[in-house]
């Protein structure tokens, strides 16, 4: 085959949204008859049946007992064999933690570098991804094939699988050759961190702070605004890394994904890892001293200025209005 191979990812027994989004990027690289999907695991029948409802010409079940649980070694070796057999021009992945764990090594086995975290595809194809924490966009042109690409969550609108009702791709089984000694890591069952004390995903209003708050001692000005608005207090990753707020209040790809009516980001520059966590917000307000901060690219309202003056002023305005 030439064309595109989309590597879907399982989430809780089903094809996860990130995989469907990767599938949504594929039509920009080839016609529908040249797009195949792969599902990988020890038991893939149900996943393949679900995938067959998607926009694919065929679905490949990459199945082997050693492919559960996930390991980088297992997935890398199995997909290498599949790609050598199928010879796609493009291999498209969702940019998940799992893909980040094995896809760069898989690409390296083909002498290729993965174009990771792609947010757009232009004719050529040229792959667009963010640079400098979202301050710039870079256009990458592949020089040879197979070309490996991972797409950022939310960058391509996922086709709703149900909307494809009636569509049914051909399903084939691919059995890779794997030996137990090739799997060098031994993963445990996943476990949750500390009991989740706050469910930010259900919050209607969120006041969120980033590095601009400068010191843990300054957090009360954000807490006061949150209290006045009836909002939850949250933060970007660095604030939680520093221990200024508990990890459970972290918003972004490594923390919680939120969808409030109002998301007020103060002193957050807007790295992509943060922005993917707030995309579902109805109204985003950004307060930042840097007028070029990438947070303003997604904000509905922006105020360029000093948050140490602005937050107390907004708190006062809310108190006197509501």
């Amino acid at each position: 085959m030439s064309g595109v191979l989309v590597v879907l990812e399982e989430r809780g027994g089903r094809i996860g949204r990130p995989g469907w989004e990767a599938a949504a990027a594929a039509p920009q690289l080839a016609g529908p008859e040249f797009i195949a999907a792969a599902v990988v695991g020890a038991k893939t029948e149900a996943l393949a049946a679900e995938a067959a409802s998607g926009p694919f010409a065929k679905v490949l079940r990459v199945e082997h007992p050693l492919l559960a649980p996930y390991t980088a070694d297992g997935f890398k070796l199995a997909l290498e064999q599949l790609i050598r057999a199928e010879s796609p021009d493009f291999v498209v992945f969702p940019h998940t933690y799992q893909v980040r764990d094995y896809a760069p090594a898989l690409a390296a086995r083909f002498g290729q570098a993965l174009v990771s975290d792609v947010v757009g595809i232009e004719p050529g194809p040229v792959f667009v991804r963010q640079l400098m924490q979202g301050r710039l966009a870079g256009s990458y042109r592949p020089q040879s094939h197979p070309c490996f690409v991972s797409v950022q969550a939310g960058s391509f609108r996922a086709e709703h699988p149900e909307a494809q009702a009636g569509a049914s791709a051909a399903i084939a089984v691919f059995t890779p050759v794997l030996a137990p000694e090739q799997i060098r890591t031994r993963p445990s069952e996943p476990f949750r961190g500390s009991a989740k004390g706050v469910d930010l995903s259900a919050a209607q209003r969120i006041v969120s702070v980033g590095r601009g708050i400068r010191d843990a001692a300054n957090l009360p000005i954000a807490q006061e605004l949150a209290s006045a608005m009836g909002a939850e207090l949250a933060a970007s990753r660095p604030i939680c890394d520093l221990g200024w707020l508990p990890m459970e209040r972290q918003v972004g790809s490594s923390g919680q994904t939120v969808a409030p009516k109002l998301y007020l980001a103060a002193g957050i520059s807007g790295a992509i890892q943060h922005l993917v966590g707030i995309k579902g917000s109805q109204c985003i307000v950004a307060i930042n001293k840097d007028p070029e901060a990438p947070i303003f690219e997604v904000a509905d309202y922006g105020i360029v200025g000093d948050l140490f003056e602005l937050l107390p002023a907004i708190t006062e305005a809310v108190k006197s209005a509501v």
Binding site: L136, R192, L262
Partner: protein
């Protein structure tokens, strides 16, 4: 334990980045640089492991002469020695090309453990560590928050998505990419800064590593990102801007 830590020098996050005259890279004039923060966490993990189990920490950094400052910073924090891969065209290499340089510089050292940050703050490709593991033939794991030495190798805590974690056991030698936030970063002490001046920094020319290849993907243009929304900016004094914002939130978007 002999530990190699690959670190990168990146533009300081508070410095203004501008597009360079070629339109293919940023303008490096007047930029301030700093150690990539995830790499600082990797270095911290290496120093903690050395303090606990003994051994040696070697930092490896590729880039032009200016990265010497970042190397000295790592030595001042406690690394024992450094390898500087001298390379003036780092931005013209893809992730595979950069990982090849670092892997070839590390290979003759035969370390028990190779650490690096999970991604860089400038390019954010998040691949260097995983590719190095592949090139060096090492088992690896990514997004690691804790590292524990066991009788047979390592037990690590890996971050998964949405607040989940996982422990992974792997034999050594191994490679880990370190997630930020697992430890508290140390500052260099005055004594450390003084000692760093006498520590060994070996320079290797990129061309002498036998790792030269042409890139498989070319960064052909950098541009300002396209705005996803038209932002309405509110101006005036803090008090005026605050009043205008609350007005909008109450009566236009009705979220207050």
């Amino acid at each position: 334990m002999k530990i190699a830590v690959a670190i990168k020098q990146v533009p300081d996050r508070d410095s203004q980045v501008r597009i360079g005259p070629s339109g293919r890279w940023i303008d490096e004039a007047d930029l301030q640089y700093a150690m990539n923060e995830p790499d600082a966490y990797a270095l911290e993990e290496a120093l903690l492991l050395k303090e606990k189990h003994g051994g040696e920490v070697i930092v490896v950094c590729a880039g032009p002469e200016r990265v010497g400052i970042t190397i000295r910073e790592a030595l001042a924090k406690g690394a024992d020695r450094a390898i500087h891969v001298v390379c003036d065209d780092l931005e013209g290499r893809d992730a595979l090309g950069v990982a090849r340089l670092l892997a070839e510089a590390i290979r003759p050292e035969n370390p028990d453990l190779v650490l690096t940050g999970l991604q860089s703050e400038d390019l954010g490709l998040g691949q260097t560590g995983v590719i190095m593991a592949e090139l060096l033939g090492l088992p690896h794991s990514t997004l690691i928050l804790q590292v524990e030495k066991t009788d047979t190798g390592l037990k690590v805590k890996r971050e998964l998505e949405e607040g989940w974690f996982q422990s992974i056991e792997l034999p050594t030698p191994a490679l880990l990419t370190i997630q930020s936030g697992g430890n508290k970063l140390r500052y260099a002490t005055l004594l450390g800064i003084k000692r760093a001046k006498t520590k060994e920094v070996r320079t290797v020319a990129a061309a002498d590593l036998g790792a030269e290849t042409s890139p498989t993907v070319l960064l052909e243009r950098v541009a300002l990102p396209q705005k996803q929304k038209s932002t309405q900016f509110l101006s005036g004094s803090p008090k005026e801007a605050a009043a205008a914002l609350v007005e909008k939130l109450r009566f236009e978007v009705r979220v207050l």
